[in-house]
Symmetry: C2
């Protein structure tokens, strides 16, 4: 079987590494025989962790790496100095063609820098954005960019829109995805300098289904499928999802506990509620792909458990099978 989708997985990255990372790898290869996982990290630690699991051994490779890049380390320096780190070694597996994709719950900064510096951009792509899938009322949307590049230019946002459309159409199966730019009003003349300059470029872009501006309040309701914004704004949107969600759920729980009557009610609604709210959980979709690289780089939450790691590994299969990077190469031309 030379036809595996080969995924490099940083076994040492994330709050729950290596335990949950390795568990996620095992779950992925037990569930799917098309994927092969390259675990990078301290060999003895990984081997100890693997004891007790049963899995198809031909789908798992251990690549020893003695160093670990911590979250607090300055990314550029860390990438340069720690050549024997689990993160750098995993990214090098993508660079040299051994692997198709890289998955990590480790340092976001080092993953983003490493993605650009080690894996490298597709020719013509100016800035590879980080594009998490976020839940909406009736499905999901892609938020692009969300942390890879601050102080973006209009041409970057146009590329984000193109790459995001390709992803939503081919990976998430949304036909002719609706693209919108985050703005502070619906009218074309509203917005800051970046949005005003970008709006006409998106409007005249033949490759996307541009529906205009979107106010942040309409993002959770699912008005658009590809939400284009610069990284600072994207990061604020993503974090507000988490923050407002967590606080509201806490309020709902506290509200249910205020009276005896409500406590009894809470016992009755709990199972149904849990089910519904699961569909609005940010982690269900796996990690966020970094688009426009010569290979796939997926950043999962620092707090990822095995489920998110498994889902992130499995989404690499779709990414490869749907030939996302080939499609990006077709649409992004060097003069963009």
């Amino acid at each position: 079987m030379g036809d595996y989708v080969n995924v490099a997985l940083d076994a040492m990255g994330g709050d729950n590494a290596p335990k949950e990372i390795i568990k996620g790898a095992i779950e992925a290869i037990n569930e799917n025989n098309k994927v092969k996982v390259y675990l990078t990290g301290k060999g003895d630690v990984i081997k100890t962790e693997l004891e007790g699991y049963t899995y198809p051994e031909e789908q798992l490779v251990i690549i020893n790496a003695e160093e670990i890049i911590e979250n607090a380390e300055p990314p550029v320096m860390a990438i340069r100095k720690k050549k024997d780190s689990s993160l750098v070694k995993a990214l090098n597996l993508v660079k040299d063609g051994t692997c198709d994709a890289y998955v990590s719950a480790g340092s976001t900064g080092a993953t983003l820098v490493g993605g650009q510096v080690i894996v490298g951009r597709i020719k013509g792509v100016e800035r590879p954005p980080l594009a998490p899938v976020i839940p909406t009322e009736n499905g999901c949307a892609l938020l692009v960019d969300c942390g890879a590049n601050v102080d973006a230019r209009p041409s970057h946002l146009v590329q984000f829109a193109k790459m995001g459309s390709i992803y939503m159409e081919n990976v998430m199966n949304v036909k002719s995805p609706k693209v919108a730019i985050v703005n502070i009003g619906a009218e074309e003349d509203k917005g800051n300098a970046l949005v005003k300059e970008t709006f006409p470029l998106l409007k005249n872009c033949p490759d996307i289904n541009f529906i205009g501006s979107i106010e942040a309040r309409d993002i959770p309701s699912g008005m658009a499928d590809v939400i284009v914004c610069e990284a600072f704004v994207g990061n604020v949107i993503l974090k507000m999802y988490e923050g407002v969600g967590a606080t509201l759920i806490k309020k709902v729980k506290a509200g249910m506990m205020t009276t005896l009557r409500s406590k009894i009610g809470a016992l009755l609604v709990k199972p149904a509620l849990k089910q519904t709210l699961k569909a609005f959980d940010l982690e269900q979709y796996g990690g966020a792909p970094m688009l426009g690289l010569n290979g796939l780089v997926v950043k999962t939450h620092g707090s990822s458990t095995s489920i998110e790691i498994k889902n992130s590994i499995l989404q690499c299969i779709t990414f490869k099978e749907q030939r996302i990077n080939e499609k990006i190469r077709e649409k992004i031309t060097v003069q963009d």
Copy 2:
């Protein structure tokens, strides 16, 4: 009684004008004998609407204005041309000293432009921000700026922090309010160009209790009392509050209706839940003040009902009694 707090109220502005606006005015003067409301708008419409209400007549004045500024109108042009509009006439009452404050649920753009052009800035204030009070887990916070000025400069943000601190300390009674700047990470070297330039200025500002960066996820939990950001980001934060809140509440309701068991539970938890969620309602705090003007300008939601109008009128009393503008004049010096 020459000692009234005089409030100019645009009777024709907002989705529910004039009915709810006038109802709010009546409720305010019936509740508090320190406030006098100047209703601007079509005299005959206002008079018809007032029929059936009983109220202290010495606390209500009708100022006739034949024109209305619509939401869709370009603000600068509308302010200039419609001299006989309810909005312009109300703002002129503040300008000429008849009124201390102005309240409107009408066009945000026209209110913001009119505030600057007609009422005018306090000497030294570079940009008067719109600063809504937002609910948090254990109280509230001030979000400043939230829509008045896009593409702000570092010096503007420092003034926002100072004015916001004065407001939270004196109007909301928060002792030594914690000021934070919205950022995409907690470290000082994170962020876009604006944040990086502003951070050291805030750190060295003696008039505020600066606690550093805040990630958007920590805003709803109440980590800071004054949230400083430029208007585009502030607008996104405010709208995400509304959007995520609305979608989640809808999900919770839907979840409760999925099984017979959960439906019965829903009946039991409903009253307690309603009470708890009320404390997380954006509208409970009245409108958003525009800080740094020669007078108080308060913008309420376009969809305001009488309760928000009433609360907005009453908050003008505290604003005047606490001498907020005098305190801003002391802290904002022209060289700022």
